[in-house]
Amino acid sequence: MDDHGPGFEPDLDEGSIVARAQDGDLAAFEHLVLAYQFRLFRLAYRMLNDRGDAEDIVQETLTTSWCGLPMLADVDAFGGWIFRLATNKCLDVLRKRAARAESILGSDDMDAIPGARASPVWAGWDPAHAAEWSAEQDGLTALLNTLPPAQRACWLLREMHGRSYAEIGVTLKISPAAVRGTLARARHQIAEGMSQWR
């Protein structure tokens, strides 16, 4: 009998796939990796603007999830849980980057350091790819990178990944009402920025 269990049916609901992965079924876990790796990469790339760092986030998040899976009480909470793991890992990377910038510049006031909180606007930009990219989207991602990390995470989780206020609140350790406020401020800031174009 192989590891995958001969009964693995690809049209299973996600809850059943998660439950089987919890029991150690590798084929079920592989299915989850395939289902989430691109989504997590998009989130991490837009948070960190670095392919290598984003790949590390995907790898660490999914590897951690394999060990933590048996403890997950509700199979339907898998998506929220995996996004929470990835988001917090991204915020850790950004904190480390900010700390490094602080120690290099020797300043206590992070807000005084340009680019310490927000990533450089064009970091990780691939010129070969730029030709296909519309100016409007360019501008949006550039503005996104000027938001503080938690606000950016909030905006990405909601607008790019459709996660619920409750779930985002748990991830960022704030109330759903505070998620709403954070989102509104993020939208306001981006919209203001866009109005300066042309």
């Binding site: 269990g5 876990f29 790949e55």
Partner: protein, 204 residues
């Protein structure tokens, strides 16, 4: 982070309420209010740009991790594979026989896949040893696979998700039959008890 600190326009309306209604036609107030009109135009533009970015990121082959990442993840998982506990089928002076819970679970799931409208989920299996305990060895059991009450018997606890609208008692009985037949056929011991818990209804 300040709670509920939602940006407001000079006219008192929040950015949030304008955002929530940009898909609808403007209200009477918005028709009159210059600030609302400006905010609306900005937010409509943001909404369109957001949608465009979501779509293009989704289909952008450059926004995917390299294929090696999946393999690296699966290598770690394979190295730390959880076999679950082992179930002692027979213990005697001349040797013990054990089977991994995972091997038995696979057998149970394979059997369950034959029943339409049910997805098997987590599976726990225990064993009730031969009635007189492990020390007294019943030479009939363990090898012949007959369901004699004296032999060891498995207790299967299977959780499942069912299709909505299915007749759960009928489904559960068919499932129990299927599993009760598959276990002796597969490993030669009787499935004494098959407990089925329908924990969810899946979307079809």
């Amino acid at each position: 982070m300040a709670l509920d600190n939602i940006p407001r326009l000079g006219c008192g309306r929040s950015i949030d309420s304008i955002w929530a209604s940009i898909d609808r036609s403007p209200t009477a107030h918005e028709e009159q209010c210059k600030q609302c009109q400006t905010a609306r135009i900005q937010l409509e533009r943001l909404s369109a740009a957001t949608r465009a970015l979501r779509e293009s990121d989704l289909h952008d082959p450059a926004l995917r991790p390299r294929p090696g990442i999946k393999n690296a993840i699966m290598d770690v998982a394979r190295a730390e594979v959880r076999r679950g506990s082992r179930i002692l089928l027979r213990a005697a002076d001349n040797g013990a026989t054990e089977i991994s819970e995972q091997a038995l679970s696979s057998l149970v799931r394979f059997a369950a896949a034959a029943i339409p409208g049910v997805h098997s989920r987590r599976c726990r299996i225990e064993i009730r040893p031969a009635s007189a305990g492990l020390a007294s060895e019943d030479h009939q059991s363990g090898t012949t696979g007959t369901a004699t009450p004296a032999g060891p018997r498995l207790i299967v606890n299977l959780r499942v998700a069912a299709a909505p609208g299915i007749d759960i008692p009928v489904m559960a009985e068919a499932l129990r039959q299927e599993i009760s037949n598959a276990i002796p056929a597969g490993v030669g011991i009787a499935a004494g008890t098959v407990n089925i818990t329908v924990e969810d209804l899946y979307d079809v």
